[in-house]
Structures are given as C-alpha cells and as structure tokens.
C-alpha cells in the first residue's frame, strides 16, 4: 500500500497551521479535511458559522438559550455528516439548522427569507472579524470628506471582505 499523508491536525507545523488558519481558505477545503477526520478543520469551519447559527437560531427560536442548544446540536450533526456533505457548506449547515429547528418546534423557520438574511448577515459578521479594527470602523461608520488615502482604504477593506466572503461561498445573486 502506498499513501502519502500530511496530518492536518499537526498544527505545530506552521505550514499546516497557516493553511488552516488562513481566513481565505475556502470552505470546501476545510470541509474535505473535516470529512477526513480533522477536528481542527471542522472547528475552523464551525467558527466561521457560529454567528450565523446563533443569530439565525435566536431569531428562529426566540431565545439565546435555544440558539445555543441549536448550535450544539448542529455541531454534532455536522460532524457526523461531514463525509456526505455537499460542497456548499453554508447551505448545508443552514439546512441542518432547518431540520433541528423543526425538531425544536419551529418548522416554519425553513424557507423564511428574512431568516435567510440573518444567516447571511452572520456569515458577513464573522468575515468582518478578520479585518483590522480600523477597517471595520471605516466600513461600519464611514464619514464624508475622507481624504483620498482613507477612501482607498475603504475600497481595500471592501475588496478584502469580498475575498473572505468568496471563501465562504457567498456570491452576490444577480
């Protein structure tokens, strides 16, 4: 038997650690590693969606406690099902959330477009966390009459956010 292995969970290897921790590592790469048994990859993937899961759960189920319960259940189910997951991670996790919400007495949450927007907002919120604080402030409360350098920085921050969102499978629907 010949096989070549690079244990992804050996985060003492800076190359592996960097590949996993890079916020622009695509969801599907993390999912593949998670499906192959990497807890670190799975953890990074779930951290990407914790704002989405919690925010969505809070709106869908009406309380933070229920949202936390949803998050725990979703984490377990996603870990179990990772090997069979489709490539689109965000949608996959949202559909798991639909199922769990139904089990928790909120079947109407599935297909609620307002809640879909909350989910998306959670994904964006997490991505924003990877920007420098100054850039987050610029995007959160931009001010008129910015100097050219600041205007360029706003643009750079938006482009960086776009790259992060592409890595999370978010593309603008046209």
């Amino acid at each position: 038997m010949r096989s070549f292995e690079h244990p992804a969970d050996d985060l003492s290897d800076p190359l592996v650690a960097d590949a996993f921790a890079d916020p622009e590592t695509h969801d599907s790469a993390l999912l593949r590693a998670a499906a192959a048994g990497s807890r670190q990859a799975f953890a990074l993937l779930l951290r990407r969606y914790q704002c989405a899961v919690y925010g969505w759960g809070s709106h869908a189920l009406g309380s933070g406690d229920a949202a936390a319960d949803l998050c725990t259940r979703l984490t377990r189910r996603a870990w179990t099902d990772a090997a069979d997951a489709p490539k689109e991670v965000s949608r996959w996790l949202l559909e798991i959330a639909f199922d769990i919400a139904a089990e928790m007495g909120a079947p109407e949450a599935a297909g609620n477009r307002d809640l879909d927007a909350v989910w998306l907002g959670g994904v964006v919120r997490e991505a924003l966390g990877h920007l420098p604080a100054a850039d987050r402030r610029l995007l959160a409360s931009p001010e008129p009459c910015m100097e050219n350098a600041e205007r360029a920085r706003v643009l750079d921050a938006m482009e960086r956010l776009r790259s992060l969102l592409i890595a999370r499978g978010v593309r603008r629907e046209t």
């Binding site: 695509h26 192959a36 360029a152």
Partner: protein, 221 residues
C-alpha cells in the same frame, strides 16, 4: 473618458462620497462600463454589510463547548478501510485487495495538497512503507495561490478534485505525469474543478495558459 476614480468607488456605494465628487463620479459611470461593473459588485458588499447589522454576537466559547463534546470519528478511507488515516493526504488511492467474492472494492482516500509551489517547490518525502503513511512537507516559494487536491485512482486512471484560491484569471491546464488531466477557466480567483486523467501517479502540474507559468506542482507518488 476621464481617469477611473478607483479610490472613490467604495465610499460612493457606502453613500458618503461628497456631493461634488458624487456628481463627477456619476458622469464617469455613464460612460465607463468597467467602473459601473465595479460599483455593482461593491454595492453587493454594501448590502451584505447591512445584513451583518441584523446579527447579534455569539456568546464566547459557544462553538468550543459544542466541539468538546464531539465523539471521535474515523475518517473515510481510514486505515481500517485500506486507506490512509488523517487528512491532507497527497497521493494515489491505495489498491485494495479484491474481496474473495470478486467484487472490487473501491477505496476512497481523502487527499489534499496545499501550498504547492511555483518556482522552487520542494517536497520532502519522509519514510514510507507498504503499510504506513508517508508524511509530506510542502514548502511554499512565495506563490499567492493555494490549493488542495483529492485524488481517487483505481489503477486505470485518476480522478482529481482540485480546489484552489488566489489564482489569476484565465485558462489553466493540468496534467499528471504528462497525461492531460483537463483544463478549466478562472474568473474570480477560485477554482473548484474535477479533473481526470489516464495516469494514476506521477507529477501533477497545473499551468496558467496565458503566461505558461506553473501554478501548482505536486508529486502524487
């Protein structure tokens, strides 16, 4: 047409470009399709920023607590299945012994390579044996592109799932040990493609067709 007002586009879509600059920019947009496309793209980001304001912060440690309770799970293609345990596996699928019933068992091994390199890729292969996995150290050489491959080979060919980010736009072609594995086109920096070749092992290469540069290179055994 006036020069592209690149630095103004972000603040314009966020609605904070001063009125005089906005007027000038709108006049430019009337005649510049490239900037209109850019504004359209940035407006998508602006809308997403609004969506983010709908969401509360998750409590600290929420995911960590859930992760701590996870049961162990054997990877698909684990040693028990005749494959290699762990992930970020680079290489051909091991050939399983056919079951006595004559039914051929296909073994899937999760496979991946990262940070495979352009100019001075150096792969340090460590010890391997017939029944042990081989570790690979991948040495980057300044490439911005990153990629992961998963290889499933059955002795008559190999299917290669390639996921890569940070790619320049344009056409790419690939081969395994000189055998064509397929081409694909990248527009937004991301490639997520399924390739296939008649080879089962050797050096896997992805080239950017417009300039002929090697973007990824990995020895798949």
């Amino acid at each position: 047409m006036s020069a592209h007002p690149d630095s103004d586009l972000g603040v314009y879509v966020l609605g904070v470009l001063p009125a005089s600059d906005s007027t000038r920019l709108r006049m430019h947009l009337e005649t510049c399709a490239a900037c209109r496309a850019r504004v359209d793209e940035l407006e998508g980001i602006s809308e997403l920023l609004s969506a983010a304001r709908l969401v509360p912060d998750a409590p600290a440690g929420l995911v960590e607590a859930a992760l701590a309770s996870l049961p162990p799970r054997r990877p698909s293609g684990s040693a028990a299945d005749g494959g290699a345990a762990g992930d970020f596996v680079v290489g051909p699928t091991p050939r399983p012994t056919a079951p006595s019933g004559g039914v051929r068992r296909r073994v899937l091994v999760a496979a991946a390579a990262t940070l495979v390199v352009v100019t001075c890729a150096a792969l340090a292969w460590l010890l391997t044996s017939a029944d042990s996995a081989r570790s690979v150290t991948l040495v980057p050489a300044g490439a911005t592109a990153r990629g992961v491959v998963r290889v499933d080979s059955d002795g008559t060919g190999a299917g290669i799932s390639l996921h890569a980010t940070g790619l320049a736009a344009g056409e790419y072609e690939s081969d395994l040990d000189g055998h064509p594995a397929g081409s694909f086109y990248v527009t937004d920096g991301v490639a997520d493609v399924e390739l296939h070749t008649s080879a089962v092992s050797g050096r896997f290469v992805v080239r950017h067709v417009p300039d002929g540069s090697v973007v990824f290179e990995a020895d798949l055994g």
